[in-house]
C-alpha cells in the first residue's frame, strides 16, 4: 500500500513537472547574423526561455529581475511613443529583441547577459500593473 502511494506520488510529480513545461514553444531569434530557435516556456503565467529552468524551477537573471522591484523608467527624448515594454528592457539592464513565431507574429523579449529571456510585456506589467477594465 505504502509502495503504491509512493509510486502514485512519483507519477503525479512527474506529470506536474511535465505539465509545467507543456506550454513550451519555439520562436526565431536573430543573433550573430542568423536566425536561431529559442525555446520558451510558461512559468506562473510568465514566458521565459527554457534555459531559465533549472531543476524544475526558474533560476536566471530574467526571473530575478521579474521578482525584484520595479526600475525607474528613463525619460523620453522625443514626442513619438515607442514600445514602452521594449524600452523598459534597457532600463532593467537587458536588451530588447523582437522574436518571431512560425506565422511571423512578433513578440518582444528582454535578453539578459546570462542568455535568459523574458517576455517584455510580462515583465513590464508585473512591475507596472495595468489599470482595471472599465465597467
Amino acid at each position: 500500500m505504502a509502495q503504491r502511494q509512493s509510486t502514485g506520488i512519483v507519477i503525479i510529480a512527474f506529470l506536474l513537472s511535465f505539465a509545467a513545461q507543456a506550454g513550451e514553444f519555439s520562436l526565431r531569434y536573430y543573433n550573430n547574423d542568423k536566425y536561431e530557435l529559442v525555446k520558451i516556456t510558461e512559468v506562473q503565467k510568465t514566458r521565459v526561455t527554457s534555459n531559465c529552468i533549472k531543476n524544475g524551477k526558474p533560476s536566471c537573471k530574467a526571473w530575478s529581475i521579474f521578482l525584484g522591484k520595479p526600475f525607474k523608467v528613463s525619460a523620453q527624448k522625443v514626442p513619438l511613443l515607442g514600445n514602452p515594454a521594449a524600452h523598459y528592457c534597457w532600463d532593467v539592464g537587458a536588451k530588447n529583441r523582437i522574436l518571431k513565431a512560425d506565422n511571423n507574429e512578433q513578440t518582444d523579449y528582454c535578453v539578459f547577459d546570462d542568455n535568459s529571456m523574458i517576455d517584455s510585456w510580462d515583465l513590464y506589467y508585473k512591475h507596472f500593473p495595468p489599470p482595471p477594465p472599465i465597467k
Binding site: 523608467v73 527624448k77 511613443l81 515607442g82 514602452p84 515594454a85 521594449a86 506565422n103 513578440t107 477594465p133
Partner: protein, 369 residues
Amino acid sequence: MKHAFLTAFFCFFLASNCYAQFYGFNKVDQSLKATDQIEITNMPPLMSQDSVANCYAFPAANLLNAEVCRYEKIKCSELPQDQMFSPLGLARYGRPEETKESANLNAKNKNADALQGPDGGNSFNILNYVTRYLSAPSEKCMSLDRILSKVGGADQVNEMQVHAFQRLEQMYSKSKKIKSDCADCLSNFYASAQDEIEKNFDVKVSSDRLLKMFAQSTYTEFFDRLFTPSECYRAKNSAFLESKVEPDSYPPEGIENGNYAGAIEQIKDTLTSGRPLALGNICGDKEPKPKDKKTKKPQCKAFHEVTVAGYRKVCDKKNKCRDVVKVINSWGKSWQEQNDEGWLDAKSLLDRTFYEEGTLTWLKDKAQE
C-alpha cells in the same frame, strides 16, 4: 563602424518618465454584452516597433498589406515576407519629401502640411506617396529585428544614424559641386564615397550603381537608390495600388477639428466597407492637451498611432452602452493578448486625438476617370 542600412528615422524614441502607465488604452469589462460588431479579421501578422519611434509607419504598413490581401483574396496571416510592406521601409515617406513628385503632390494636397506628424511622420503621407509611386521595400529586405541585432538597439540606431546620415547628405551635396570636366576629381570622390558607404552602411555598392545613385536629382532619390536595391522592391502584383486606391482622412479637408460622433461614424463606415483605418494624434500623456491655438504647435509629450480593425458596442445590465474599437498596436503579440486582443474603450482613446486633422486615415477606391 558598421551600420546596417536604415530608413531615415526622424524620431528618437521611448517611454517617458511618466510611464509607469501610458494613458488612453483602457480595456473594457469582458463580461459586458457585445453587439453590432464589425471586424476586419484578415490582417497581416502582428509586429513590434521595438522602442524605435516610427509608430506611424506600422498602421500604414497594415493598411497597405491588408489591401494587398483584400485585392488578391489571400490569407493575410500567410502573406510572404517578400510581399509585405516593411514599416521600416515606409517610415521615410512619413514626411512630405523633397522629390519633385512629392512636391507636386503636396501642392495639390492642402492636407499634407496640416497632417504633418509631430516631430516625425504620419500614415497619410506614407499612403499618399506609396499609392502613387510605389517602390517600397519588403519586410524580407528591411526587417527591424535583423537591423537592431546588428547595431545593438534603438538608442544606438538613433545615435549612429544621425551622424552617418549627416555625412551621407554632405557627401551627396558635395557630389553636386564637383566639376564634371575634372575626371580626377570625380574619380577620387567616387572611390572615397564607395568606401565610406560600404563601411558605414554595410551596403555593397558597385561602381555602376554608385554613378546612378549620385546622378539622382534629389537627396531622397539618391537615398532611395542606395538603400533599396531593385530586388528588394515589392512584387509587381501591388501595381493595382497605383491606379485603384488613394488615402482619405478625417476630419475632412478644410475642417480643423472633427468630433467623436463623426470619428466613430467614419470608423464604422470604413470597417463596413472592408478596410481598416489608421488612428493617429493619440496623446499618451496623463493630461493630454491639444495643439496650441495660436502657434498651432503640439503640446503633447508622447504621440502614438495605431491601426483600427474592429468596432462593437458593449452594454451593461442597465443598458448603459459604450463604443469599443479593436486596436492593432505595434507593440507586439504579447501586448495584444494582454489587452483583450486590442478591444479598447473608444471614447477615452479617441478623445485624446482632439479630433485634429489627420486623426483617421484609410484607403478608398479611387474615382475612375
